[in-house]
């Protein structure tokens, strides 16, 4: 059975709402991928690559014709050449940003999932914490960046905190929604078999919520990248955001674009890694056979 949905083109652009609420909802069974479907997917994948290639080609051809200087708009070929040339530099700053993202996102999972469990299992906790969390969500986290720098200094802390704060909400919401959308009859079923709450959680609640949890995580990790980079914009000495700002100050538009490409590549790669883990975990045949 094909398990991988890593390369589904629609996975590239996660619609937050869909990712959070859509997959593995109340009763909709997760479709088991069939070979025919897979063929179509492959075709769709190539069509996306072809479209991207076409746009890049158009860009490549139109820039010299338009007479724009490379300080304004470099060609894709020039950007690629610059990426190759400055790869060590980009990688060095990329590692910094990667670390910030992973730390922020990791904290988001470590704190978000238990928080969601508490919200789910304790109604008093839910009525106290949930509204606060939603209120927190309406604060544009980006606006907190200067404050975080003020309080936490110029090092890792404000970037990780920003990435964490942005990641937290989708993870909590994804997990809570996943747990709440379970068919109540399923709980009756396991209880009728004599299951403890822990067994019901392990055998039914958690596996049923996993698609939503991963949906939340996938949104969160893309947002974490934004959080870390914004943190770097405000105050940093390292990181892709810092590199981009430097390039900007020096009118090095090619490096500026190269930084943007690196930031995007970072986000997309992390998203794909999560999708891959999801494909391994969500369909896992969880039993002693």
């Amino acid at each position: 059975m094909a398990r991988s949905n890593v390369l589904k083109p629609e996975a590239l652009k996660p619609d937050a709402r869909e990712a959070l609420a859509g997959r593995g909802g109340k009763t909709a069974p997760m479709a088991v991928p069939v070979r025919k479907k897979r063929k179509r997917r492959v075709l769709e994948r190539y069509s996306a690559i072809m479209l991207a290639g076409f746009i890049l080609l158009l860009w490549q051809i139109l820039v010299p014709l338009s007479g724009l200087s490379e300080f304004i708009l470099p060609t894709p070929a020039a950007i690629v050449a610059r990426i190759v040339e400055d790869f060590p530099l980009l990688a060095m700053h990329g590692y910094v940003t990667l670390f910030e993202v992973l730390a922020g996102f990791g904290l988001g999972v470590l704190i978000g999932v238990p928080l969601a469990l508490a919200i789910f299992y304790s109604p008093p906790f839910q009525s106290a914490v949930y509204p606060l969390l939603v209120a927190l969500q309406t604060v544009p986290k980006v606006a907190l960046a200067p404050l975080l720098v003020l309080y936490l200094g110029y090092g890792w802390a404000p970037k990780i905190t920003l990435a964490f704060l942005i990641a937290l909400f989708p993870i909590v919401i994804g997990t809570v929604v996943g747990l709440q959308s379970l068919d109540r009859n399923l709980v009756d079923l396991t209880r009728s078999m004599g299951a403890s709450e822990w067994q019901t959680f392990r055998k039914v609640r958690l596996p049923a919520a996993l698609p939503n949890i991963f949906g939340g995580c996938k949104v969160a990790i893309s947002l974490s990248v934004i959080g870390a980079v914004i943190g770097e914009y405000v105050a940093a000495e390292r990181g892709l955001g810092y590199l981009q700002l430097q390039a900007n100050a020096q009118f090095d538009t090619t490096l500026n674009f190269a930084s943007v490409a690196a930031i995007s590549a970072l986000g997309v790669t992390l998203f794909f890694i999560l999708s891959f883990i999801e494909s391994k975990v969500v369909f896992r045949r969880d039993t002693a056979r």
Partner: protein
């Protein structure tokens, strides 16, 4: 382990059973009012009644899923208080199969939960699948099965532990008419072979009369037993000609009359 062997049916005895639900707006809903009922070992008892009369509540109480407000339920002399009897199997209206598990792993779920030897139960699960006409479907996923097939798997899952009491809450309510007909006949055949006690909840008068030794007709809320009807028809019964049987017609008419008298069915 021989699955074809008969299962010792459980005896159910209910006395003075009352269930009141507390709702949010502090209006109590009296769902069941003073139910007295004894179900003999190995008998097939069907409960019919209008929607909302408390049929599912009765089943949940017997299953030990909700607590009675008053009265007493005993299964094989064991008092049921908010804790399921180990020897019951429950089938709900929806199959409630776990989509991430194969058919076989779904059937083995109760075995896992009870910490029994899963491997040792695989042949039994496969034999059950064979008996419901799903031989070789063990490694399929629920999404690859039709509604009727899925409900068959749900029945296998309920039977894997050889339950002395099989509780079924409108198990065929979500199926199309043709599939339902087949399932009704298959259930009769299976029960004749196993001989366990069955409490079968339905709103279908026809399937209740066809399947049961005894039909309990419930009144609209608060649920009471309005009629306790013993169905005296030889087995095996055949669905195709049951409707022409005068005895069958008589039972159905009696139940309809009760519903008409209660305003559940209104003649125009």
């Amino acid at each position: 382990m021989n699955v074809a062997s008969r299962i010792a049916g459980a005896r159910v005895s209910i006395s003075g059973l009352v269930k009141t639900y507390q709702t949010r707006d502090d209006v109590d809903v009296l769902a069941l009012d003073n139910i007295d009922l004894t179900i003999e070992r190995g008998s097939f008892v069907a409960v019919v009644g209008p929607s909302g009369c408390g049929k599912s509540t009765l089943l949940s109480l017997v299953a030990g899923l909700v607590e009675a407000s008053d009265g007493r339920i005993e299964i094989d002399d064991q008092h049921i208080v908010n804790r399921p009897h180990p020897k019951i199997g429950v089938v709900f209206q929806s199959d409630l199969l776990l989509y991430w598990r194969t058919v076989l792993d779904n059937i083995l779920l109760p075995i896992e939960i009870k910490h029994l030897d899963v491997k040792r139960h695989i042949p039994k699960a496969e034999e059950l699948l064979r008996q419901v006409g799903l031989k070789g479907f063990g490694n399929k996923y629920p999404s690859e099965l039709s509604g009727g097939m899925r409900q068959r798997v749900a029945i296998c899952r309920a039977l894997i532990q050889e339950p002395g009491l099989l509780l079924m809450d409108e198990p065929f309510g979500a199926l199309d008419a043709l599939t339902r007909e087949q399932m009704i006949m298959d259930l009769q055949e299976m029960w004749t072979r196993l001989g366990n006690t069955v409490l079968f909840i339905t709103h279908g008068i026809d399937e209740a009369v066809f399947l049961a030794d005894r039909v309990l007709v419930m009144s609209p809320r608060p649920g009471r037993i309005a009629l306790d009807l013993t169905i005296d028809m030889p087995r095996p019964r055949r669905w195709s000609n049951a409707h022409e049987n005068p005895g069958y017609q008589g039972y159905v008419r009696k139940i309809r009359e009760i519903f008409e008298a209660q305003g559940v069915l209104v003649a125009h």
